[in-house]
Each structure stands twice: as structure tokens, then as C-alpha cells.
């Protein structure tokens, strides 16, 4: 009798223990199986991507936050608001205008400046009614093309330049151009203007402090042996890492009162 009671008690105790362990397991299983990915939220808050209007330094800070903290967990692209591409045709060049989803954006005012050195070689403008516009100008892959797109108050731009002319010398923290060669002249690229504008500059601790015009997107520096292009904005920023898109947002980069629309795409 005692033996039977002891066996029943042991069995009950064992069953109770197993049940309590299962109860605890069940209470935390939902968290175990669920994936908590907070990278995107943290990236948005850290980079202040919840804002809409950004200064130049704030745009660069977004890129810096991405590169320092999230370049392994997220993908990140910073692009012009519209996909502007240029293709040579027998009569000149054709500028294609698309949204980043591939859709045609109708009735976009387009202007293209073809620049060699600091001189404007050609200028063309037109309206891309159904996704493209043909302009009568020559195409040379060694020249700089500034494509400017405008719909009402939305302005965006794309700079096409050969890789060997581009220098990433802009220091966003101080707003200076840290030149590695002696600079003789500085011109500004403002998409609202047809031609580059010459600018005054002073040398501050070995770097150039340029007097920018509102809307300056890049500098043309006359250095020994030619001209180089120094972009002021990290656009396009398109690292090779690719992940499913989780955030797609338009933002305005305010350059001394002139706002350019850009697009941020973050994948996670």
C-alpha cells in the first residue's frame, strides 16, 4: 500500500514538474520563434530620417550613420527623386524620366547642360511628356552633363560625369573642400542655371571655403592639369548590398533655400 502511494506521489510530482516546465516554455515560445528586427527603426531614429527637410550636413549624417552602424544589417540608397538617364541618339540625346518604380512620370520639364572644363558647350531644354525628351546636343562620355528636372515646385537633378573627373573632397562637417591639389579657380554647378558660375573662395586651414550660390550641388575646381568635379551631396549613394525594400521616402535637401527632392530607399 505504501509502495503504491509512493509511486503515485512520485508520478504526480514528475507530471507536475514537466507541466510547469512546459507552461514556462509555452509562455516564452512566442518570443523564441518570433524575429525581432529593430534595425530599421533604429536607423530611422538615429539618422533622423523622420524629418522631411534636410540640410546638406544632415544628408551626409544619414550616410555616416548608415556606414557606421547599419551597413551590415540594412541596405540603403540615396538617389534623385526621379530616375533620369541619358542616351545618345543619331539626332542628339534622349533623356528618359521614370519614377524609381519604373512608372512614366508625365510632363516633366527637363534641361541639360553639357560642360567641358568650366565652359558650357551646349544647353538644351524640353518637356518629357511621356517619359522622355529628345534634345539636339552631342554626346561625349568625357563631358559633364547636368540633368535638371522640374515638376511645378519639385526640383531634382542628376550629375553625369566620368569617374576620372570626380573627387570626393567635400567635408560636410565644416562645409569645406579639402583639396589635394592646388586650386586656381572654382566654379559652382547650380542646376537652375545653364552654365557654371565662378565663385570666390578663401583658404582655411588648407581647405577651400567657397562662397556658394543657393542651390549649389557641385564644385568645378581648376587644378593643375585640368578640372575636377567635387559633388556636394552624396547622391547617388548606391552600395552593392541589396535587401527587400522596407522604407521608401522622398526628402527635400535644402541648399541655402533651394530644395532638391531626393529619394531614400532602405531595405532590411
Amino acid at each position: 500500500m505504501h509502495r503504491l502511494l509512493a509511486e503515485i506521489a512520485c508520478t504526480l510530482l514528475l507530471a507536475l514538474m514537466i507541466a510547469s516546465i512546459y507552461a514556462r516554455q509555452v509562455s516564452i515560445t512566442s518570443l523564441m520563434v518570433s524575429e525581432i528586427d529593430v534595425s530599421l527603426v533604429r536607423f530611422v531614429t538615429r539618422s533622423r530620417l523622420f524629418n522631411v527637410v534636410f540640410k546638406v550636413s544632415e544628408v551626409w549624417r544619414v550616410v555616416e550613420v548608415y556606414e557606421k552602424l547599419f551597413n551590415e544589417t540594412l541596405s540603403f540608397k540615396l538617389l534623385p527623386a526621379l530616375n533620369l538617364t541619358l542616351a545618345p541618339t543619331p539626332e542628339g540625346v534622349r533623356v528618359y524620366v521614370r519614377g524609381w518604380s519604373g512608372l512614366v512620370v508625365p510632363f516633366v520639364n527637363i534641361s541639360v547642360s553639357r560642360i567641358r572644363g568650366c565652359e558650357l558647350l551646349e544647353y538644351g531644354e524640353g518637356v518629357a511628356e511621356l517619359g522622355y525628351v529628345d534634345l539636339r546636343m552631342d554626346y561625349d562620355s568625357s563631358d559633364i552633363y547636368v540633368i535638371f528636372a522640374c515638376i511645378e515646385r519639385l526640383y531634382t537633378f542628376s550629375l553625369l560625369a566620368p569617374e576620372n573627373l570626380v573627387r570626393h573632397w567635400y567635408e560636410w562637417e565644416g562645409g569645406l573642400v579639402r583639396n589635394e591639389s592646388r586650386v586656381e579657380r572654382v566654379f559652382l554647378l547650380v542646376p537652375h542655371y545653364r552654365a557654371p558660375i565662378e565663385a570666390n573662395f578663401t583658404v582655411v586651414e588648407g581647405a577651400l571655403d567657397v562662397e556658394e550660390e543657393p542651390g549649389t550641388v557641385a564644385y568645378l575646381l581648376g587644378v593643375e592639369g585640368g578640372w575636377v568635379l567635387v559633388p556636394r551631396l552624396p547622391v547617388p549613394y548606391n552600395p552593392p548590398i541589396s535587401k527587400p525594400r522596407e522604407l521608401f521616402k522622398y526628402l527635400i535637401c535644402d541648399l541655402e533655400g533651394v530644395g532638391y527632392a531626393l529619394v531614400v530607399e532602405v531595405g532590411g
Binding site: I21, I36, R46, R48
Partner: protein, 135 residues
């Protein structure tokens, strides 16, 4: 059953029980550690979200109730430039911390009260957060 057989069978039973209990306890510790880490990660991200959003809107007063931030009791420790979340369990404790952006600093060091008022004020280019115990 001889006494020798009895001793052997009891020893085998004890050994099996010890092995099973070890496996169960280990799995419980692991599961709890993972759970706590996830909760800490979640709580830290949510708190960062609150603090950085509020900093962007400064001057502002925000009432924070930790019980509404995450469903498990957590300890939040802040100092001038960092924030850490600690989740204590029976077997395992998890800590997640992050450095605050340079434009934001807490004028407070120690554990954040479970209900607190955060006063965000702008001083030059910096946002300073003062902490008061909430009602």
C-alpha cells in the same frame, strides 16, 4: 531483486534524472537568455525611438511609463551619453546598451524611474534631457 540489483537500478535512475534535469535546466537558461535579449533589444529600440523623436521636437516634455514601453519589467539606466536596458530573469540577465548621438545628452545619471517625465530642452546645438519622477 537482490540488493545489488536494487542499488544499480537506483543509481541508473538517479543518473538518468540528473542528465534529464541538466538538459532541461540548460534549455530553460538558454531560452530565457534569448528571450531577455530580445526584450532588451526591443525596449532599447523603443526607448531610443521615443527619446530621439522627442529630441527632434524639443522643447518638449514627455511622460514615459516603462510598463507601456515593453511588457516585461525592465531596468533602464542612463548617463550623460549612453542608455542601457537590463532585463532580469530567474536564470539569465540580458543587457543592451547604446551610445546616444552627440547632439543629445541626459542631465541625469542612474536608473530611470518606472514613470518619469523627460524634459527636452535645446541649448545651442545640443538637446539636454532632464528627468523628473512622474506622478
Amino acid at each position: 531483486m537482490t540488493s545489488y540489483e536494487l542499488v544499480v537500478s537506483v543509481n541508473v535512475a538517479v543518473a538518468v534524472m540528473v542528465v534529464i534535469s541538466t538538459v532541461v535546466v540548460n534549455s530553460l537558461i538558454t531560452v530565457e537568455a534569448v528571450e531577455n535579449e530580445k526584450i532588451a533589444e526591443l525596449a532599447l529600440a523603443r526607448l531610443e525611438d521615443i527619446v530621439l523623436h522627442a529630441a527632434a521636437e524639443a522643447p518638449l516634455v514627455v511622460e514615459v511609463n516603462l510598463a507601456e514601453v515593453v511588457f516585461r519589467p525592465v531596468e533602464v539606466e542612463v548617463n550623460e551619453s549612453a542608455m542601457a536596458v537590463r532585463v532580469r530573469g530567474i536564470f539569465a540577465t540580458a543587457v543592451r546598451s547604446s551610445k546616444l548621438p552627440s547632439y543629445l545628452r541626459f542631465n541625469y545619471t542612474g536608473l530611470l524611474p518606472s514613470r518619469s517625465l523627460l524634459y527636452f530642452t535645446k541649448l545651442g546645438g545640443t538637446v539636454v534631457v532632464n528627468v523628473r519622477r512622474g506622478g
